[in-house]
């Protein structure tokens, strides 16, 4: 594959991003509003419900432990929805990209734009939830102001994962596999609801290979007072995965949209 078909144009990508922002600013109060409440309900049910019986975990109040973890999952869910159902709809149903690609915008610009947009949407949802967590008094460290930066990285990573999957599937049916066998297990087994510290070593090894585990390490670190090296190490992991995947949706979508 030649560089001209792989290297994105940032100005072109930003135009596709701005189109998404424009649509979002019109519709967020409707269909997208309920998603803001999702992590809040988990925080209330588990943090404040279960947390009444389970006072502390690793010396941290349970509601604080869960709240910091849910900031990460809010990002995962928001970014995933954006680059799975939404993108599939744009490819197959509204044929939006056919019109976009008939302008000077190229496939690699679309990939960059959609991942950046998924990250943006993840930041909007994740930061809103972070503020709620802070209002409940569950943030200890001033470093938490850096959270949006890392939520963006996490959102980009899950946006890229979703887009990669979307670019490779032929029908929407495959999403039930993606959510049931990938996203939901990550949600349950990445250390959001209980620490992995006392579990067997192999659990840690498996967790290390999953993206949400690293994002949880980051958000929990920032909220409770970070170990800078650990935050950067986890961030690097997410960055490497996100960048490494880029070529897959570019090639797959080109085959699909520019046949």
């Amino acid at each position: 594959m030649i560089a001209a078909e792989l290297v994105p144009s940032v100005p072109a990508a930003s135009r596709v991003w701005r189109r998404n922002m424009r649509v979002f600013s019109k519709v967020w109060k409707g269909a997208l509003l309920p998603q803001f409440f999702d992590p809040l309900f988990y925080l209330l049910a588990l943090g404040f419900g279960l947390g009444t019986y389970l006072a502390t975990v690793n010396g941290i109040p349970y509601k604080q432990f869960v709240g910091a973890g849910l900031m990460s999952s809010a990002v995962m869910w928001a970014a995933s929805f954006e680059t799975t159902w939404n993108i599939f709809f744009k490819i197959e149903e509204t044929r939006l990209y056919d019109s976009v690609l008939a302008t000077p915008v190229e496939v690699q610009d679309v990939v960059l734009a959609e991942v950046a947009w998924a990250a943006t949407r993840a930041v909007i949802y994740g930061t809103t939830f972070t503020l709620i967590v802070a209002i409940f008094g569950l943030v200890d460290s001033l470093w938490a102001v850096l959270t949006p930066l890392f939520l963006a990285l996490g959102g980009a990573c899950f946006g890229m994962l979703g887009l990669t999957f979307t670019s490779l599937i032929k029908t929407m049916d495959w999403y039930s596999f993606y959510y049931t066998l990938f996203i939901t297990p990550l949600f349950l087994f990445s250390g959001i609801f209980y620490p992995l510290t006392r579990l067997p070593d192999w659990v840690h090894v498996v967790a290390w290979f999953t993206p949400l585990y690293h994002l949880v390490q980051i958000t929990r670190g920032l909220v409770l007072g970070p170990d800078a090296l650990s935050v950067l190490g986890n961030a690097l992991w997410l960055l490497v995965l996100t960048s490494a995947l880029f070529v897959i949706p570019v090639r797959a979508l080109r085959r699909r949209l520019v046949a």
Partner: protein
């Protein structure tokens, strides 16, 4: 006069199927050039190759003097596309569809949008969503969208298919005005009367090949037929709508 589009030995396969089977054609600047043929003749694939949404397997294709394969962005910056399938942005209004098109091209929208809304008689529906428009209005909006970047060449894939006679005449009117402004038009159709009425030159396509070409009058004379329907039947042994 320079060629707006020039194709030599163009081949496009989809797996086993040869959609375009080694065609040559040349479109001079400022003319309305038609591709006439039944569904499946390879017209749409040829159009997609011209506007960069199909990668050709063999042959040479130059658009506005540029190599479509190597200068994709440059080519697309200077052409307008009216696709066969309606792919307007459903989430945006009529006006926003045009604004966003200017954005994709990286050009200021300003007065051009109002001009196009007037040109396509959509000014009163500027705030409607595409879903609220009639078939004819959607087609006019697709045409307006294709003109946002003031293209030198507009590719129209079956611009009047599925429209009622009145809407079709409105589209023809727009195309005639564009041609009078010197815009090169590349158009596919399976309507004989449309080809005779608006095309300066045309080629007849069947099963991926070009079987004849010329001005409508030349074709009628060469094959001794009163209309293009007869020419087509004589050349291919079958009608247009099968």
């Amino acid at each position: 006069m320079s060629a707006a589009v020039s194709a030599r030995g163009l081949v496009k396969r989809y797996g086993e199927i040869v959609a375009v089977d080694g065609i040559d054609f040349e479109v001079q600047s400022g003319v309305c050039f038609g591709f006439l043929g039944p569904n499946g003749a390879g017209k749409t694939t040829t159009m997609k190759a011209v506007y960069g949404l199909a990668q050709v397997d063999a042959g040479e294709l130059s658009v506005l003097g540029l190599d479509v394969r190597r200068e994709r962005r440059e080519v697309k910056a200077r052409i307008g596309v009216v696709p066969q399938e309606q792919n307007l942005d459903r989430e945006l209004t009529v006006r926003e569809n045009l604004d966003i098109q200017a954005l994709y091209h990286g050009i200021p929208a300003d007065g051009r949008i109002d001009e196009l809304l007037d040109f396509t008689l959509l000014a009163e529906r500027a705030d409607a969503k595409p879903g609220e428009l009639s078939g004819g209005m959607k087609r006019r909006l697709l045409i307006a969208r294709a003109l946002v970047n003031r293209p030198d060449l507009v590719v129209l894939d079956e611009p009047t298919t599925g429209l009622d006679p009145q809407a079709r005449i409105a589209v023809w009117g727009l195309l005639e005005r564009l041609r009078s402004e010197g815009v090169t038009l590349l158009i596919t159709t399976h309507y004989m009367e449309e080809a005779e009425r608006i095309c300066d030159r045309l080629v007849i396509m069947d099963e991926g090949r070009i079987v004849a070409g010329g001005t409508p009058a030349e074709l009628l004379e060469r094959y001794g037929e009163p209309n293009l329907e007869g020419v087509f039947l004589q050349l291919t042994g079958h009608g247009l709508r099968e």
